[in-house]
Amino acid sequence: MLDGEDGSLIQKAIKLMVKFGEAMKAERLLPIKYAHVSLTSTNIRGEYEFLTDFVTDNVKVKVPTTCQTLSIDRERWQELGISEDVVNKAFEIVKIFEKLGIRPTFTCTPYYTINNLVEFGDHIASCESSAVTYFNSVIGARTNRESGQSGLISALVGRTPEFGFHLKENRKGRILIDVRANLEDDADYSSLGFQVGKKIGPEVPVFVGLKNPNDAELKALSNSLALTGGIALFHAVDITPEAKTLNDAFQGDKPEDKLIITQNDIENTYNELTTGSGEVRTIVAGCPHLNLFELEEFAKMLEGKKIKEGVKVWLFTAAFVYEVAKTKGIIDKIESAGARVYRDTCLLLLDGMKKKPELVATNAAKQAYYGKSFIPDTYFYFGKTRKIIKAAFTGRWE
């Protein structure tokens, strides 16, 4: 690759990786098994520009690669009222990714679209902070927090520099998090991650006291740890694969610090991200994208009922998961109640909408936290899943 036998773009790409490795004091470039690449949204400057400047024809990724959330739903952009120029740009991006040989997943939860391709100990290069934390922590694969640009270039050369979370010593737990709270909902895990991230910053936390979290809850935890703490890896004793025991999680060392999380801490996030009560017009879930189990849960809560007139319920998921849910009748149950399931995109990345969503209730701390900067004129409520569904029927946040 370095000598240009794979073409000038790949030569440029590998040279960038070598220089990046030198800068990060990596001893070598590692082969990767998989990559997940962003550069798919139209509302962050420098993504589309890089993609269209950098990529040339006839270049393909070297390893199985998935891609991140778009700014549109490819099937239902019309009903979302997205402007034509954003739609055109989004489809241009879709085309470039297809040409690159990247799987058209368009999701922030790529781990639900690749079966068991990525396994414990695999070196990969992943974009999307919540996916990075999930891959590192829940699967035990090894990735740094890649930017869209470094992620794409890694996919093109099938290599990443060996530094950071690729090295065992950097995966050692550092801070013990003793959870003394009863967590009963995805949103509680979202809240837990929000508080821990804020308190400890970019460290490796080790949780004790979690009671059998399901996959959706671990996904929610990954999401908010990355949000407020820039945390790329956590361990949970007897739950995540590098933490069979407390001793394993700390690689035989002692915790550098200890933090106790109480029920009050969990409740604090709800108070911090929501003030007061009032009218609700939009209910949003799917940050990160909902998995099949979560869609099933929503179907159970909505089946046979009607959401309140004038209230919108938007659920976001990956197209791949949508298709499976559709064949199981889950999508129909949800949509018969008046809710909508959107694919490929999310509330925060939707771009070019003629009418912005208003008075939004969500069960993900990230939506409420970032919502203010992405959609400045609206009001956000953050609450448990049961509470946002209740608001769908009443149109009120009490």
Binding site: L16, K19, R45, G46, E49, F50, S147, G148
Partner: protein, 140 residues
């Protein structure tokens, strides 16, 4: 600045190039996506020591990068519209910032000691050599 006296601070050069410009200095980290306006290069993060400053054309000297990996995108876009920082200096190399600097060919020095960084006043005149890792500070 021939003839003017200077002192030298050492770091590790990670992208070559010699640049002399005004420095923006803080011992805090900077969030290039979210904390900086991508069109104007103004630092917009509330309560940030560099809030209200424009990083365009300056030697940006910070503790590290913080927050989103979108820092690479901001550097790429700023370079494209000609409003990129002239050079970067960090105590701790933040991967997305370092990658962005290499991609956009901005001279960059890392591993500068925090104690050395503290001695440089904001708006000082500096010259950096991204090859040797030397920072010439014209304040003596």
């Amino acid at each position: 600045m021939e003839g003017k006296s200077y002192r030298i601070i050492k770091g590790r050069g990670v992208f070559p190039g010699i640049v002399e410009a005004e420095a923006l200095v803080t011992t805090e980290s900077i969030s290039l996506l979210g904390g900086v306006n991508q069109e104007t290069s103004e630092v917009i993060e509330l309560n940030h020591p560099l809030s209200g400053e424009y990083i365009s054309g300056k030697v940006l000297m910070v503790y590290s990068g913080r927050g989103s990996v979108g820092s690479t995108s901001t550097l790429y876009y700023l370079k494209k519209i000609g409003k990129n920082p002239a050079a970067l200096v960090m105590v701790i190399p933040d991967p997305p910032v370092v990658f962005g600097a290499i991609l956009t060919e901005i001279p960059t020095i890392v591993d500068v000691s925090i104690d050395d960084l503290k001695t440089i006043k904001n708006h000082s005149r500096v010259k950096i050599n991204g090859e040797t890792g030397e920072i010439f500070v014209y304040d003596v």
